[in-house]
Amino acid sequence: MELRSYIIRRLLFLIPVLFGVTIFIFGITMLFSPIERASLYVTDARQMTNIPQLIETYGLDQPFWVQYGNWISEVFSGNLGWSRVVGMPVGDAIWAFLPATLELSIFATPIIILMGIFLGTKAAAHKDRPLDHGTRVMAIFGWSLPTFWLGLILMMVFYGYFTGLLPPSRLSIPMELVVNSASFIRYTHINTIDAILNLKGAVFLDALRHLILPVITLSVTQVAFIMRLMRSSMLESLGKGYILTARAKGLSERVVVNKHARRNALIPVITVAGYVFAGMVNGVVITETIFTYKGLGWWAWQSAVRLDIASVLGFALFNSVLFVLVNLVVDILYTRVDPRVRLGGVMQ
């Protein structure tokens, strides 16, 4: 019961957050003059004369609050605007691009978190010994690698030398045809999951093959990050009194590290892991662009470049909802890991 009321309270908290975020971003777009914004609707030099009329129609010279009010009332009626980049409504665009990004995140996040926790634990347990030095060097190396560079190098190797082994985009063309055929039901638009639900092994393997390179590119930096965090967190908890107690009980080093130290070290990692996941679902522009893997990141980037205000606002809205939700999940996870944490700070 406590959990349910907590979730409701946190979801209500979404309302002010969304207002704040949209007012902020809408305010930034107001820095452009009405003429500049009207010119975005112009596709032809001859239409230049229509600008005053466009300003009139769309109310671009109205006060900020009126324009914001117009936009928000449209949002409440379910209309987020038109995304010119892909030529469809913003809401549809988000739903269209989300599955690709979600697929990437679903595969990358577990790898990042589990690898990070595992390596961080190992490094802390072997502090100042070769294994620790090795993983630390790897972490600094991975953390300093620019994503675009790593992506390009992987591409060079796998597109250049081992052509066809790990191809770009989401699916190869024959499989694309299978996926788009009438007998293949697209439940989620996440290819791997759909392939499993439709029992199409070939599609699953093909989708997986296309995922490998972007997932590796994404993981390298993030694993390094989580690993560093886990290591320092583990070292802190290994220095605590209860670790000495556990050793004095006669527990083996493996149990001391994996049972007594690790669970206490997980809290900061959970926080960051939540943001890593949210950050990925929000789109990983560079990775998606390099591997022509069209997801949310690619769409948001295109919209921003072309000053597609409706799309950018829609994306910001989606972003804030996602972050609030992830925060909520992270807070609930805290209570599972650490019994001292109570939801909403209410002591029982």
């Binding site: 009194g241 000495l244 107690t245 004095a248 009980k249 006669g250 007594h260 206490n264 001292r340």
Partner: protein
């Protein structure tokens, strides 16, 4: 009474960036069977390090440089050199034959596991045979009394469990249960071990006078008061009826009223369980109340060892005298020891105490005094004797 622990020439050093820290220097100390030996001294005098050295848990970058610690095992009736033991053997002694209670009960308990979990861990680790026997009895009772449909379905599993528990009770590390404990679903066959350990845990908690023990067992440490936590820690240390209980300032972080209860508890434990206690404290009042003999430490070496009455009535070492003078008393002007505690990085030559000693002689600067018996059971390390 023989010696339970015999420490000879124990030297512990820490290799830090600033230099070598001489934590313990050539320490000779005996703990007799059934006695409570107090170690008193200032902070940093090496009291805790002595205790950790007995358990071989000196933290990094410290090392036991030389010496010997001989432990007399009552069950095996033989002497064991702890410093030469393999890590596995040492683990079977820690928490089983020698256990330790730490200063800060709040820090000594893992905040994410229940009290019961943490105590039953000790039973599961050191008393598997006993648990196996108890579980076996449970299964026997079920096999004898069980009837009806459910029982006839469960009967094959009970037989299997009986075989497993029999193996656990008889062999030291049997293959079948060990293997099954790693297999999901099948590891549930061993649940009675856990259950028995929980029952023992509740008994243990009752033993240290925790009211409502069964409920406390499922509480997390942060839900208990300081005194309760300390009782739980003591219960954990006593779980396997150790031959030596090391208590490292167990009362320092507690209220005075709780302190008194704790001291009472320690006295009772000693009488009931027949364990020796190594009681580390910087509070001379506490030491006088619980200890049979007291050892005074200064800057990593031993100054004086004597029975409580002897030490408080006839203190011989200048440091012991100074220490007793600096105990606050009503109607008496508070004395302090001039100077500061010896720097462990660059300890003074000869006797560690000579720069602060009122009766230092030239020889004190050059030579360390050996422990000498000046009267029966009264040892002093000082050139004056």
């Amino acid at each position: 009474m023989g010696n339970l622990i015999r420490i000879r020439d124990l030297t512990v050093r820490f290799y830090t960036y600033e230099g070598v820290v001489h934590a313990i220097d050539d320490l000779d100390l005996d703990i007799r069977q059934g006695e409570t030996l107090g170690i008193v001294g200032e902070t940093g005098s090496g009291k805790t390090m002595t205790a950790l050295a007995i358990l071989r848990l000196i933290p990094y970058p410290g090392r036991i440089e030389s010496g010997s610690i001989v432990f007399f095992d009552r069950d095996l009736h033989s002497e064991i050199e702890l410093l030469k033991l393999s890590e596995d053997k040492m683990r079977s002694i820690r928490g089983n034959k020698i256990s330790m209670v730490f200063q800060e009960p709040g820090a000594a308990l893992n905040p994410v596991y229940t009290i019961g979990d943490q105590i039953s861990e000790v039973f599961l680790l050191h008393q598997r045979r006993e648990l196996g026997k108890r579980a076996n009895k449970q299964v026997d009772r079920l096999l004898r009394d069980g009837d009806g449909l459910a029982a006839s379905i469960k009967r094959p599993f009970w037989h299997w469990q009986k075989r497993l528990y029999n193996k656990i009770a008889q062999e030291s590390n049997p293959f079948e249960p060990r293997f099954l404990s790693h297999v999901p679903l099948f590891r549930r066959l061993l649940w009675r071990l856990k259950n028995e350990s929980k029952l023992l845990t509740v008994d243990m908690l009752k033993d240290v006078e925790i009211p409502d023990a069964a409920r406390v067992a499922v509480h997390y440490p942060h839900e208990l008061s300081g005194g309760m936590k300390q009782r739980a820690v003591i219960a954990m240390a006593l779980a396997c009826s150790p031959e030596l209980l090391i208590a490292d300032e167990p009362t320092t972080s507690l209220d005075v009223t709780i302190q008194a209860q704790m001291l009472e508890l320690f006295r009772r434990i000693k009488v009931e369980k027949g364990a020796s206690v190594l009681f580390i404290t910087h509070n001379l009042g506490v030491a006088s109340e619980v200890c049979d003999r007291v050892a005074v430490m200064y800057a990593g070496s031993l100054c004086e060892v004597a029975s409580v009455e002897e030490l408080f009535l006839h203190p011989s070492h200048p440091y012991t005298k100074a220490l007793l003078d600096s105990v606050p008393m009503p109607g008496k002007e508070l004395q302090t020891i001039p100077g500061a505690l010896a720097d462990p990085l660059n300890p003074p030559s000869g006797c560690r105490f000579h720069p602060r000693c009122p009766s230092a002689t030239p020889v004190c600067q050059q030579e360390k005094a050996k422990l000498k018996e000046i009267s029966k059971d009264h040892m002093v390390a000082c050139h004056l004797f």
